[in-house]
């Protein structure tokens, strides 16, 4: 498990931790039922306050990514990946809508827009 903290990103450290763990869960690097390091150990290893790791885990718990049991620790919860995918598609839709709006206003054709998408994807 890899966690990197940036002190200059402006994003609070607890969010950086929570987001990185979320990504690992969604990418399947952390599996359902797998134990997370204890909050104290994580804090000691990363040289950050225990309160910060506690907050990161609380965030993950609230968003349904992990479950914590007093005295036992925190574990990865079963994820509804289908639901997550749907949410992401909705988000992409909204972003594309915005892009197409802007394109229309600027007189960029649909063809050009498709080309642009291919271009940012790095493909032909």
């Amino acid at each position: 498990m890899n966690i990197n903290i940036s002190n200059s990103s402006g994003e609070p450290i607890y969010l950086q931790i929570a987001n990185q763990i979320k990504t690992m869960i969604l990418e399947g690097k952390l599996k359902e039922g797998e134990a997370l390091p204890s909050m104290r150990i994580l804090a000691t290893e990363l040289r950050i306050s225990f309160m910060t790791t506690k907050r990161a885990y609380e965030e993950l718990e609230r968003d349904g990514f992990i479950e914590s049991y007093t005295g036992k620790g925190s574990f990865v919860k079963a994820q509804n990946l289908e639901l997550y995918r749907e949410e992401q598609i909705k988000r992409i839709e909204a972003l594309l809508m915005e892009a197409s709006d802007t394109a229309q206003k600027a007189g960029v054709t649909m063809e050009e827009l498709h080309e642009l998408l291919d271009l940012v994807n790095g493909g032909e």
């Binding site: 402006g10 609070p12 450290i13 607890y14 104290r40 150990i41 804090a43 000691t44 040289r47 950050i48 306050s49 225990f50 309160m51 910060t52 907050r55």
Partner: protein
């Protein structure tokens, strides 16, 4: 399990000296916490620490350590806490081995094996007179002693000041290891806020004998921000949002006390995150409001 909630409770403590008053201060250190105690030289950090250790008498107020009264239960408390000062309080002719013997007699829970482990980890010589130790070695020896009798509370007055960054980092790591079971607590005074910025769970700011702020470090840091604007824009900012303002010929930097609210209210201004140093600096100037 220890059956108290706060390792330290300071309630309305006043101590008057000629020319300095510790003025009705209150704050708690919850069990399991690292509390950073921040203030300028002469702000009252050492007086507070001396008061809670009953090295000096207070004029009024109440102090409880480990749930016990700091005067009535002084003997019981002293066996369960450890104190580290910025100067070595031991005599120069002793060596590390002698220290073990002295501490063994003082503390019922002295753990010689743990002490020897710290000595080895810190690479301290056992038989060299401590008068010949470097400043870093002296501090490491004090810390080895402090951590080797199962103390529930460590009180440190400027313990990491004067140490190089490598040693400071090593020591901070050891403190965090020591707190691993959640039953031990640390009060750590320092004017080097970068150490506390990293590991402290809570911070308390003191200035001229008064407590300015006390609370969870992350919350305090997130709450505050530094807003950059020009002199003209400065007129539009409500005084209740402002801690103090640092002006220069090209503009102004305003510390705001509610970062989130300010970023909506003054959405055309840049607001940078504030560090503990910034917060201290702007609060120290809170009475003059505008400074440069």
């Amino acid at each position: 399990m220890n059956d108290y909630e706060n390792a330290i409770e300071i309630n309305g403590v006043t101590k008057k000296y000629d020319g300095f008053t510790l003025d009705n201060i209150s704050f708690d250190v919850p069990k399991g916490c690292i509390m950073g105690f921040i203030g300028q030289n002469g702000a009252g950090k050492t007086t507070t620490i001396r008061s809670l250790l009953h090295i000096t008498d207070i004029n009024s107020g109440e102090i409880r350590l480990l749930g016990l009264d700091h005067i009535k239960d002084e003997t019981a408390i002293k066996k369960r806490i450890a104190v580290v000062f910025d100067e070595l309080p031991f005599h120069d002719v002793f060596n590390a081995k002698d220290m073990a013997k002295i501490f063994e007699g003082m503390y019922p829970e002295w753990d010689n094996a743990a002490y020897m482990q710290y000595i080895e980890r810190f690479q301290l010589p056992l038989k060299k007179k401590i008068g010949q130790f470097s400043k870093g070695m002296k501090m490491k020896l004090q810390i080895a002693c402090a951590l080797s009798h199962n103390a529930e509370l460590l009180v440190m007055d400027e313990a990491t000041t004067g140490l190089d960054p490598v040693v400071r980092d090593e020591i901070l790591h050891i403190f965090m290891e020591y707190l691993q079971n959640g039953e031990r607590s640390i009060l750590m005074s320092s004017h080097i806020t970068s150490d506390l910025e990293k590991i402290a769970d809570m911070v308390t700011f003191i200035d001229k004998g008064k407590i300015l702020l006390t609370g969870y470090k992350d919350e305090i840091i997130e709450q505050h921000g530094i807003l950059k604007c020009d002199q003209e824009k400065l007129q539009d900012i409500d005084s209740e949002d402002i801690v103090s303002i640092r002006t220069n010929n090209f503009g102004a930097e305003v510390m705001v006390n509610d970062h989130e609210n300010a970023s909506y209210k003054y959405s055309d201004c840049v607001i940078d995150p504030a560090s503990l140093d910034d917060i201290m600096l702007y609060y120290v100037h809170r009475d003059t409001k505008e400074w440069s």
